[in-house]
C-alpha cells in the first residue's frame, strides 16, 4: 500500500505550525507551580501529533526530537516532575527549534544549523537527572527511539503478544494502524499478522470502515507502558490486549491467517547524532529563505455551511424566475420584480459569505506577540505587560499576511524606545511595569489596529533637530506638534538614530508606512511626552472589493474609492485662486486644495472645461487633500478590483479596473498617486528655471 504521501505533507506542515503556535501560547500562559492539567495535556498533544506526523513522513530527526520532548512532558503530565520556569524556557526553545526544522524541511533547505542535538541532549539530561526510581523505569526511552531499536536486538528482550482489534469506525478518527505499527517497530522486532476473517464480500464492503484485526508479536525490552503509549490515541476505538509471553518461547504457532506475516519496515533508522559543537546556546535563527505566502486556507465549517445555504437559496430563486419566464404575461410583473429583488439579496449575501471565507481573526497575527514581548523585555531588562483586545476581529488573509511585519516593528519600537527601564519609570512616578496595549476593531469598512504604550513618548525636540540637520525641515520653519511626529515616517529617519542609541535594524518607520500604504491603509501617530505614544493603523478589510463612487468625465466612467472621498461640492468661482500663474487652488473653508482637472491628466474630451460648471470631488490620501474636477457624479457601488497588470502593466494614476453592470470596463483612480503627481507638477511650475 504505497501512495503519494507528499500530498499530505502540506497539511502536516500547516497543522504543525498551528500546533506550535498554540503550544507556545499555552507555555507563555503557564503559571509555574499551578498544575494545570488541561494546558499540559494541550502541550503534550501537540508534541505527540508532530511526533506521529513526522515519523509518518520520514522526518526522522524531528520524530526523535519530539519523542524526547514528549517523554519529558509525559512525566510532567503524570505528576512525576514539576513544571519549572527552566522547563518552560526549554520547551519554548524547542518550539523554536521545531519551527525552524519544519520550515527548513518545507523549503527544502538542508544543513541548516539548528541546535537540535544540543536541546535534545538537555532533555535527555533532565530526564536522567530527574528520574525517580519509580515502578516505571524507562531509562532507555529517554534516548532516541533509534537507539533503542538497535539495543533491543542485543538486550534481553521480552516477547509481547498484542491483539489489536479496532472498531469499524477507526479510520473516521483519522488513525492509521500502519503508523502505529511503524512506531511499534521502533521499539523492537515486530511481526504482524492480519486477520481478514471479518472482511465482507466485495459488494458489501464500505471502504471507510475497518474490517481488519491484527495480531502482533513484538520482541522488545520496553515496558508495557511504552507499548500502551503508542496505542494511546486509539485506545477508545479498539479492543487492545497486551500479553507478555515468556521471552524464551519462540515463535507462536502460526494460526490460519489470510496473509503472510510481514515485518513492518523500520520507520526510524539510525541517525548519526550531531556533534556537540553546534551545542552553543539555543538561539534559533529564523529561516529567511523565501517565506512563501501559503496558498491554502482553513475555513471554519459554519462559514462553509452558510455558503451552501446561500447557494441553495440562489438555486430556488433561479428556478422561480425560470418558471416565471416560461409563460410570462404582464399580470406576473409584480412577481418578477419580487423575484429580482430576492435575486439581488441572494447575490449580495452570497458575495458577503464568499468574502468572509477569506477573513480570519487577527489573533493569527497577534498570537506571536506575547512571546516576542516576553523575550525582548527580558533582553532589554524591562518589565512589560502586553494587553491584547479584539483578537477576534476578522480581516482578509492577504492583508493579514502583510501586516505582520509592520506590527512587529511597531511593537518592537514601543518596547525599545517607548517603555522606559523600571528605575526610570519609578522616578517618573509610573508603575515599574510598563503596559503595551494592542487593540483591533472594525470601523466602517476598515479595520483599525492600535498600538498604545505608556512609555516616554516621542522626543519632539530631538526629532526636529535631526530633521533640520538633514534638511527635511527648514531651519526656521515652525511645525505644529502633530507634524513633528509625522517626521519619523520620512525615509532617512532611522529610529535608532533619533530616539535611542540602540542599533537600527535596517527597517525604518518609512518602510512600515510603505507596507501599510501598499495595502491601501494608513498609519497615524499620537504621542505625548512622558505619557506614551499611540499608533493607529487603518486597513481596508479586503483587497478584492472596494466601495466606489462612479464619476463621469466626458464619455469615460471612473471609480473613485469611497474611503478617500471627503465631500463633493459645486465650485464657486470666488473660491478659485490661481497660484503662481497656473496652478489652481480652491479655498475650502480654511484649506487650499489643488484642483486636479481629470480630463487634463488623462487627456480626455470633457463636457465642461469651465470649473464652475462641473463638480469638485474632494479627496484625501496620506493626509494630503486635493479636488478632482469631474463632469458628473454617477452612482455609488461596490466594485470588484481587477488588476491591469495581469495582462498589461501598471498605469500611473490608476490602481486597477473593474467591470460595471453593463459589462464595460471602468478604471479605478489611484488617488494618492494623482495627488502626488499634481503636487509635483505644481512645484515644477513654481520654479520653471529648475528644469
Amino acid at each position: 500500500m504505497s501512495f503519494d504521501m507528499s500530498q499530505f505533507l502540506q497539511t502536516f506542515y500547516e497543522e504543525s505550525f498551528e500546533g506550535l503556535d498554540s503550544m507556545e501560547g499555552n507555555l507563555l500562559n503557564f503559571d509555574v507551580g499551578v498544575v494545570d492539567a488541561e494546558k499540559i495535556n494541550a502541550i503534550f498533544r501537540v508534541a505527540h501529533s508532530i511526533k506521529g506526523g513526522s515519523a509518518t513522513f520520514g522526518l526522522k530527526e524531528m520524530a526523535a526530537f519530539t519523542h524526547s520532548m514528549e517523554t519529558l512532558l509525559e512525566k510532567i503530565r503524570s505528576g512525576e516532575r514539576q513544571m519549572t520556569t527552566e522547563l518552560v524556557d526549554l520547551l519554548l526553545q524547542s518550539v523554536d527549534v521545531l519551527r525552524a526544522m519544519l520550515s527548513a524541511n518545507k523549503n527544502g533547505a538542508d544543513g541548516v544549523n539548528i541546535p537540535v542535538a544540543a536541546l535534545k541532549s538537555r532533555f535527555d539530561e533532565l530526564l536522567k537527572s530527574g528520574d525517580t526510581p519509580a515502578a516505571n523505569p524507562a531509562p532507555a526511552r529517554t534516548g532516541a527511539g533509534e537507539a533503542d531499536a538497535q539495543q533491543t536486538a542485543k538486550g534481553k528482550s521480552q516477547h509481547w503478544c498484542i491483539d489489536f482489534i479496532p472498531r469499524m469506525s477507526l479510520f473516521s478518527t483519522g488513525n492509521d494502524p500502519l503508523r502505529i505499527f511503524r512506531e511499534l517497530a521502533t521499539l523492537g522486532e515486530l511481526e504482524t499478522r492480519i486477520d481478514l476473517g471479518k472482511l465482507p464480500s466485495w459488494d458489501d464492503m464500505d471502504a471507510e470502515q475497518c474490517y481488519l484485526a491484527w495480531q502482533l508479536q513484538l520482541r522488545t525490552e520496553h515496558t508495557e507502558a511504552a507499548i500502551k503509549e503508542i496505542f494511546e490515541w486509539v485506545e477508545s476505538d479498539c479492543r487492545l490486549d497486551i500479553k507478555c509471553i515468556d521471552s524464551a518461547a519462540g515463535a507462536v504457532a502460526k494460526t490460519e491467517v489470510a496473509s503472510k506475516p510481514h515485518p513492518v519496515e523500520t520507520a526510524i533508522a539510525a541517525e548519526p547524532q550531531k556533534a556537540t559543537d553546534d551545542a552553543k546556546d539555543s538561539v534559533v535563527k529564523e529561516q529567511k529563505s523565501a517565506p512563501a505566502e501559503s496558498a491554502s486556507i482553513r475555513v471554519s465549517i459554519d462559514k462553509v455551511d452558510d455558503l451552501i445555504n446561500m447557494v441553495g437559496e440562489l438555486v430556488i430563486t433561479q428556478s422561480m424566475l425560470g418558471q416565471l419566464g416560461q409563460d410570462f404575461d404582464m399580470s406576473k410583473l409584480e412577481k418578477l420584480a419580487d423575484g429580482l429583488t430576492q435575486l439581488e439579496r441572494n447575490t449580495r449575501e452570497l458575495q458577503e459569505s464568499v468574502m468572509r471565507i477569506r477573513m480570519l481573526p487577527i489573533s493569527f497575527v497577534f498570537q506571536r506577540f506575547p512571546r516576542m514581548v516576553r523575550d525582548l523585555s527580558a533582553k532589554l531588562g524591562k518589565k512589560v505587560e502586553l494587553v491584547m483586545t479584539g483578537e477576534g476581529t476578522e480581516l482578509d488573509k492577504t492583508v493579514m499576511e502583510k501586516i505582520g511585519d509592520p506590527l512587529v516593528h511597531l511593537l518592537r519600537n514601543a518596547l525599545d524606545h517607548g517603555i522606559e527601564s523600571p528605575e526610570q519609570r519609578q522616578q517618573a512616578g509610573k508603575p515599574a511595569t510598563g503596559a503595551i496595549k494592542l487593540n483591533a476593531y472594525h470601523q466602517g469598512g476598515n479595520i483599525v489596529i492600535e498600538i498604545i504604550d505608556d512609555g516616554k513618548g516621542l522626543d519632539r525636540d530631538r526629532i526636529l533637530e535631526k530633521a533640520r540637520l538633514r534638511g527635511l525641515v527648514g531651519s526656521d520653519e515652525v511645525l505644529p506638534e502633530d507634524k513633528v511626529a509625522e517626521l519619523i515616517f520620512l525615509p532617512g529617519f532611522s529610529t535608532a538614530e533619533i530616539v535611542s542609541d540602540l542599533s537600527g535594524r535596517g527597517v525604518g518607520m518609512d518602510v512600515v508606512r510603505k507596507n501599510i500604504k501598499s495595502l491601501g491603509g494608513s498609519v497615524e501617530i499620537k504621542s505625548e511626552t512622558g505619557k506614551g505614544s499611540k499608533f493607529t493603523i487603518r486597513l481596508p478589510l479586503t483587497l478584492a472589493i472596494l466601495d466606489g463612487q462612479l464619476v463621469r468625465v466626458g464619455e469615460g466612467t471612473y471609480v473613485v474609492p469611497l474611503v478617500s472621498i471627503i465631500e463633493t461640492l459645486q465650485i464657486k468661482k470666488k473660491y478659485i485662486n490661481a497660484v503662481a500663474g497656473k496652478a489652481e487652488m480652491y479655498r475650502l473653508r480654511d484649506d487650499y486644495l489643488p484642483i486636479i482637472r481629470l480630463y487634463e491628466t488623462f487627456s480626455l474630451v470633457p463636457d465642461q472645461r469651465e470649473l464652475e460648471n462641473g463638480l469638485l470631488v474632494v479627496v484625501e490620501a496620506e493626509g494630503q487633500k486635493a479636488g478632482l474636477f469631474v463632469d458628473d457624479l454617477l452612482s455609488q457601488q461596490q466594485v470588484v478590483i481587477k488588476s491591469l497588470e495581469t495582462n498589461f502593466r501598471k498605469v500611473t494614476g490608476l490602481s486597477g479596473a473593474t467591470i460595471l453592470g453593463d459589462g464595460t470596463v471602468a478604471l479605478i483612480l489611484d488617488v494618492s498617486s494623482l495627488i502626488g503627481a499634481a503636487r509635483q507638477q505644481a512645484t515644477n511650475r513654481g520654479r520653471p528655471q529648475a528644469a
Binding site: N647, F648, R649
Partner: protein
Amino acid sequence: MDSVEVKNTNDAGAVQNQYLTFVLAGEEYGVDILRVQEIRGWDTVTPIPSTPDYIKGVINLRGAIVPIVDLRTRFKMAAIEYGPTTVVIVLRTNGAKNSTILGIVVDGVSEVYNIKTENIKVPPQMGQEMDIRFVHGLATIEEKMIILMDVDQILTSREIAAVDKLVA
C-alpha cells in the same frame, strides 16, 4: 469570418503548423493558430490614459481585463475607419513572467493554412520600412506571400518598460 476554411497546401508528413491569416492594409499576415484564443467583432473599448496611441484600451473578456492593440498604428500604418469586417483577434502571448492575453485589431481575417516549417523563410533585412522584430518568417502560398508574426513581440516587456520610463 464564415469563409475561414482549412486549405491543405502541403502533403501530410512533414512538420507543419496551422496559421490563421488576416489582412492588414492589403497584406496578409499569419499567426500561429494555437495562440489564437478567439475572434471577436470590434466593440467599444475603455481607453486607458497615459498609454501609447496603439493601445486602444481595455475590454472585459469574461471577467479578465484585456488590452487591445491597433495593429495598424502599431506598425505605423495609416489608420482607417473601423468597418464591418474589422475584427479583434484575441491572442495568448508569452510574456517575461507568465502568459498574458491581448487583442489585436485587424482589417479582417482571411484563411487558415497548413504551412510546413521548412517552407518558412527567414525574413530579409528590410531597412527602416518595417520593424523586423514582429516578423517570425515569410511563407509563400499560391503565389501569395504571407508574413508570419511573432505574437510575443507585439507588446514586449521592452516596450512596456520604455513606456513606463516615458510616463514616470
